[in-house]
């Protein structure tokens, strides 16, 4: 398996290859059968369509596989690679079904194409859960066609032949033919009927449960992998932009005299500010266009700009936190109602309540956003690390007021994304400037730009209250949340999150509580709000997972036992019929396909606890915490062990993760996602915080926006995947939500200190003195 780049390669020989020419060469090199899958299943493209496939827009194709005349298989990855491993996992599924030899497969990255591939929007942990059947069908169709071709050549029945690792064999006569030799015949055959397209049985799968090396390992370890900023076009300029520091701010005046004197600076260009909310469109500002990146940065530093900040100039995180906390102390809009929580709370023998707070977060992906554009002959071509080339094309067309058919978006590797690169504002900037300048332009965001002009994870406050009866059983649950809505980035006058946002891990919880009220309270947005890996489930998971642990402590019950009791009896629930308000979203799936399955929830809790040695003693200063969360249709339980140093520093030496995500196509990448989710949740929980003062983001770089580093990171992450042939759930995101609470619960176990506001930061300073003072009354650290 190799991974030729689809993009112009700025190799170290310094010869920038004209991308147009390169693509043409690639097209000429494409012989053979091209398969496309659409809503109506798989069909074969005609030769005419095939030859123009990169340019024409067939009616609803999703091209996944090309078998070249030389027998090489191209698998066309229509989803963006941002570290989740889709460029390996998708070929694993297709090549296995197709009986292709892994060594003769290569992956090519698809351009953005609305009609051809199905959704390319790589977020929501959807690649496998939405596409597994189509990938399998594509592979099985190829296999059937090649078998049919061999049968025709030998004049035997198709049922007598069998594809085996790039060869079709006829057992009766001992004849065999390689895939390459079959292309010309296969091309003339009608598409196999439904009965001929047979998906392999489990026993027939070659790579079931196996570890396949990721396809981009060599380029990624030799510096040749191509990310956004690595695209170099002939005559390309580099631009760096000053954007309004306050959301909705505008430029009043610009003095660019000093900037234009910087050697290498060629132009200073105004990009108009949109009226907000402007969704995916850029913020506007002033661009410095230069010969190289350094000149552009120096030129920008020399700009003198006067701003009109607009109404968000008063946004202040300290004051806003108080307003969110006030908001959750009043009733909100119903997201889920079961029984009568108010009455049950009033009747409870004991009421326990707690409030939690999670600040804004930034994706802080390692590759700052960057985009390269060329505008010529009425066409726009963009190269970018985008999660959503289709949304990008649509937004570019709207922003540039151009026909979408004139816009091509090439997808590079993404140097991390986590949701930030779903938003195509940066692609628009590059295209706008390329058109203004009349030359290709690379817009390079600096780290500071990325930190200060992003789409931020929502700041959130939560208030949870439970009623407990005399036996310690939870009889009432009232959860009120407030956070500015993602919708506010796209529509004016949004007064807070919609109740349906609660289905992202708050109103869809698997607990057997007879009286529940899950509510959403008002919260205005004063910054661009966007989704960040696991989205609302970050703060939902932290608040709920922490509160459950608090209830366990309050009722003097072991947290694992408490969790299992709270989940209650085995049941499979359609939550749209159990109090969830319409539209009762289920991560885009039906409740029939993916009901809330409490047996799965309990299984992962038990598995994580058992494998972690829950209950075995730990040295002083260490503690274990557990949390379980269902999100993106997967069930993940985590037992995290922390070590809290004398100075309050938190290390996570080890963690145990149990995952039921249904069928898992690539177990090693699923494990890697869990490892990474935990490390990212450590950042969210322990270190990271975006705050605003005078409407401006205070933080600027990794110096003041701290993230997890190796020293604190786990030495061991023991991931257990529940073997399953069930419908797949997500993998990229579901590890994040339980991890935050598990860390906080472990900190409590280690120190007796309950962290309710994130990040932990220096809240644990002096914990030993506090712990000593509490020792007489404390239950003692758990586990």
């Amino acid at each position: 398996m190799t991974s030729p780049s689809n993009n112009p390669t700025p190799s170290s020989d310094q010869s920038s290859v004209d991308p147009e020419r390169r693509r043409f060469v690639q097209l000429l090199g494409m012989g053979g059968v091209v398969l496309a899958a659409g809503p109506d299943g798989i069909r074969r493209l005609s030769d005419a369509e095939r030859l123009t496939a990169s340019f024409a827009e067939p009616w609803s194709p999703v091209a996944y596989v090309t078998l070249h005349d030389d027998g090489m298989v191209s698998i066309i990855c229509h989803r963006s690679e941002m570290g989740q491993g889709i460029r390996t996992t998708m070929p694993m599924i297709i090549a296995d079904e197709m009986e292709a030899d892994w060594a003769k497969c290569r992956v090519e990255q698809a351009d953005g194409n609305d009609k051809k591939y199905g959704s390319q929007n790589t977020d929501g942990s959807t690649s496998i859960r939405d596409f597994l059947p189509r990938y399998r069908e594509a592979g099985a169709t190829m296999r059937a066609l090649l078998e049919d071709a061999a049968a025709k050549q030998w004049n035997v029945n198709s049922a007598e032949v069998k594809a085996q690792q790039h060869t079709v064999v006829h057992a009766g006569s001992g004849r065999s033919m390689g895939f390459a030799a079959l292309v010309s015949t296969a091309r003339t055959l009608p598409m196999p009927g439904k009965d001929r397209v047979r998906i392999k049985s489990i026993a027939e799968r070659r790579w079931q449960g196996k570890k396949m090396p990721s396809v981009d390992l060599v380029p990624m370890t030799t510096g040749t992998a191509q990310y956004g900023a690595d695209v170099i076009l002939p005559g390309m300029k580099t631009a760096v932009i000053v954007r309004p520091p306050v959301w909705g701010g505008t430029v009043v005046s610009v003095d660019d005299s000093a900037a234009l004197k910087v050697p290498g600076v060629e132009r200073v260009i105004r990009i108009p500010e949109p009226s907000i909310p402007a969704g995916f469109k850029p913020l506007g500002g002033v661009a410095v266009v230069a010969k190289n990146t350094w000149a552009a940065i120096k030129g920008r530093d020399a700009l003198k700009i006067t701003w009109a900040d607009g109404p968000n100039a008063t946004y202040d995180s300290v004051a806003y936190k108080k307003s969110l906390q006030a908001s959750v102390r009043l009733p909100g809009k119903a997201g889920r109602t079961v029984g009568n929580a108010e009455t049950a709370l009033a009747r409870a023998s004991r009421r326990i309540s707690s409030e939690y707070y999670v600040p804004h977060l930034s994706h802080a992906q390692m590759e700052p956003v960057v985009s390269i554009a060329r505008v010529q002959n009425g066409t726009v071509e963009v190269w970018a690390p985008t999660q959503s080339p289709q949304d990008a094309r649509g937004t570019l067309a709207e922003y540039l007021k151009m026909d979408i058919e004139k816009i091509t978006v090439h997808v590079t590797l993404l140097g991390g994304a986590f949701g930030r690169k779903s938003k195509p504002d940066f692609l628009c900037e590059s295209a706008y400037l390329a058109r203004e300048v009349g030359a290709p332009v690379r817009v390079q965001w600096t780290r500071e730009d990325d930190m200060r002009s992003s789409y931020y994870h929502s700041v959130a406050a939560h208030r949870l209250e439970a009623g407990v009866d005399a036996s310690g059983k939870v009889t009432a649950w009232r959860h009120r949340s407030a956070y500015p809505a993602i919708a506010a980035t796209f529509a004016p006058k949004v007064a807070g999150a919609d109740a349906d946002e609660l289905t992202n891990g708050a109103s869809d919880i698997p607990y057997a509580i007879p009286n529940m009220s899950v509510e959403i309270c008002p919260a205005a947005a004063h910054a661009r709000i966007g989704w960040y890996r696991s989205v609302n489930a970050i703060h939902h998971g932290f608040a709920i997972g922490s509160f459950v642990d608090e209830l366990a402590r309050a009722t003097k019950t072991d947290p694992v036992q408490f969790l299992q009791q709270l989940i209650g009896p085995d049941r499979s629930v359609d939550l749209s019929k159990d109090g969830l308000v319409a539209p009762a979203s289920n991560y885009g799936a039906t409740w029939t396909d993916h009901p809330l399955d409490t047996a799965r929830a309990k299984r992962v809790v038990q598995l994580a606890a058992d494998k972690a040695g829950w209950g075995t003693p730990l040295p002083k200063g260490r503690g274990r915490g557990i949390a379980m969360h269902r999100s993106f249709l997967s069930y993940v339980a985590m037992v995290v062990e922390v070590e809290v140093r004398d100075d309050g520093t938190v290390l996570v030496p080890r963690a145990t993760v149990a995952v039921d995500a249904g069928f898992v196509a690539n177990p090693d990448r699923a494990r890697a996602q869990m490892e990474g989710a935990l490390v990212m949740a450590m950042s969210n929980t322990l270190y990271s915080e975006i705050t605003f003062a005078r409407g401006r983001v205070v933080q600027s770089n990794y110096r003041d926006y701290a993230v997890t580093r190796l020293r604190a990171a786990p030495h061991v992450v023991d991931v257990h995947l529940v073997e399953s042939e069930g419908l797949p759930g997500g993998i990229g995101e579901p590890g994040v939500p339980p991890a935050g609470a598990a860390i906080a619960n472990a900190i409590f176990a280690a120190t007796g200190i309950r962290v309710r506001e994130l990040p932990v930061g220096n809240q644990l300073a002096g914990w030993r003195a506090k712990a000593a003072a509490n020792d007489s009354e404390a239950d003692g650290p758990n586990a």
Binding site: E675, Y702, R709, A713
Partner: protein, 151 residues
């Protein structure tokens, strides 16, 4: 005029000597394996070797490089099969891969100085490098494996 070698090749530079090595490598030489992550020496993505010592290319001005020998990830090994690169592949360390050039360059330097690094040695050497995908557990293992392989 600055004269230096990059991956063994003699180079001359007569531009703005305040330019950081990072942008020289990327913009002038198209050696894009060295990554821009932060520009302030906080993330390690731009780590290269200058006279055999790991350096943050975003902090090294061209004015300081007269007569120096720079090695980037592209020049680490002629066929990309340095023991550290191999270990990285065996353990499938990278996720997005963006930070890994810098991580590998740092690990190579660590192993040169300490062929059998302890966990504390690894902590000290690697904590200047950020990986947002969270590949740290595998990075730690890969360094140990590369150390074992080098014996």
């Amino acid at each position: 005029m600055i004269t230096l070698t990059v991956n063994g090749q003699r180079r001359t530079f007569d531009g703005d000597v305040t330019m950081p090595l990072l942008w020289y490598l990327r913009d002038e030489l198209a050696l894009t394996g060295t990554k821009y992550g932060c520009g302030v020496s906080s993330c390690g993505a731009c780590t290269v070797h200058v006279d055999g010592i790991p350096a943050r290319a975003c902090q090294r001005r061209m004015s300081t490089l007269e007569g120096k020998a720079v090695i980037t990830i592209e020049g680490l090994h002629p066929t990309g099969e340095h023991a550290t690169q191999v270990a990285w592949r065996v353990l499938d360390v990278p996720q997005c891969g963006f930070c890994q050039s810098g991580q590998i360059m740092e690990a190579v330097a660590l192993l040169k100085n300490k062929p059998n690094p302890t966990d504390a040695d690894i902590d000290a050497a690697m904590t200047g490098h950020i990986c947002r995908c969270g590949t740290y557990p595998r990075i730690r293992e890969a360094i140990k494996q590369a150390a074992g392989g080098a014996k």
